[in-house]
């Protein structure tokens, strides 16, 4: 379904989402009309979902980032829904993922410093429902972060 031309457009856009249609046309050697038409179609079929800005939370004073991995009490039939609903109300949670594996849910949590993290952890995280076990991985450095797909 995806033509070579579409892949080329997505590759360029993925490495630089600020490229204009004119710049894309020049790099892919396609006509500007063809770029406009192809991008419209990629959006229409839902492949291209948009462009979002990245926020650097460290620059905003959030120096602590922790990946919290939970196993939930699965004897509770609504454990996942209730846990995720409650986690949504914690502002310091940036990401929530559910898994098939040893870990059930992962939350990415940020805090201003360790004292603030301890406060968030004790008051907002440990009080989430249906937790069976928690493990923490403390963020040290981002080595690769573009989150690109190998198109």
């Amino acid at each position: 379904m995806l033509k070579d031309e579409d892949r080329r457009i997505l590759r360029y856009l993925q490495s630089d989402p600020t490229l204009s249609h004119a710049e894309l046309a020049e790099r892919t050697r396609l006509s500007p009309q063809s770029i406009t038409r192809r991008i419209a179609r990629l959006e229409e079929v839902g492949i291209l979902k948009g462009v979002c800005a990245r926020i650097d939370w460290q620059k905003l004073g959030y120096s602590v980032e922790v990946s919290l991995r939970f196993t939930l009490d699965k004897t509770q039939p609504r454990a996942f829904d209730e846990f995720l609903d409650a986690a949504r109300s914690v502002p310091e949670v940036l990401e929530m993922q559910t898994f098939l594996g040893r870990v059930d849910v992962r939350l990415s949590v940020i805090a201003r410093d360790m004292a603030h993290y301890q406060e968030v952890y004790r008051d907002r995280i440990l009080t989430l429902p249906h937790i069976a076990e928690i493990e923490a991985l403390m963020h040290v450095a981002r080595i690769k972060s573009e989150e690109a797909l190998p198109i």
Binding site: L10, L48, A53, P91, M96, E135, R142, K144
Partner: protein, 152 residues
């Protein structure tokens, strides 16, 4: 500049949701002049708070039906340099993110694959053969949600 005001926070939230909105459109939405909105956005960029953009693609529709989070422990700390491991793991196209962490594992990876057999191939041929790679834990992603964070 961590002393953001209300307009900064609104602009960050709006742009994190859709970075293609123009300063003019944002200015109208938040009831400020276009130059004022433009200056704020520029200031947030210069401070590094607005740190670039990310294209949002539907991995599933592009044929990547499986996403796996990996925890990797280095087996031979000291003997293999972290640089060698980091360089080799970052060069694998299916590896989307690499994060150095402290705790049960040394690295956290986000990996995409076409399907589970494809993932097994990447795991065996590319990940397990990395210099220094020891214990590996894999969790297959079922659902994901990104939250706006503490801006509101």
């Amino acid at each position: 500049m961590s002393d953001l005001d209300d307009l900064d926070r609104k602009l960050l939230t709006a742009l994190a949701h859709d970075a293609r909105q123009s300063a003019g459109a944002l200015a109208r939405r938040f009831g400020v002049s276009q130059p004022a909105a433009w200056r704020r956005i520029k200031r947030l960029q210069e401070a590094g708070i607005l740190a670039g953009r990310r294209l949002m693609l539907d991995a599933d529709k592009l044929g990547y039906g499986v996403t796996v989070f990996l925890g990797i422990k280095l087996a031979t700390k000291g003997r293999v340099s972290l640089d060698d491991f980091e360089r080799a793991v970052s060069a694998i196209p299916e590896v989307q993110t690499v994060e150095h962490v402290l705790g049960l594992y040394d690295y956290r990876l986000r990996v995409v694959a076409r399907d589970l057999p494809d993932f097994e191939r990447i795991l065996r041929r590319r990940i397990m053969t990395l210099p220094g790679a020891g214990e590996v834990e894999a969790n297959v992603l079922l659902s994901e949600e990104r939250r706006p964070g503490p801006l509101g």
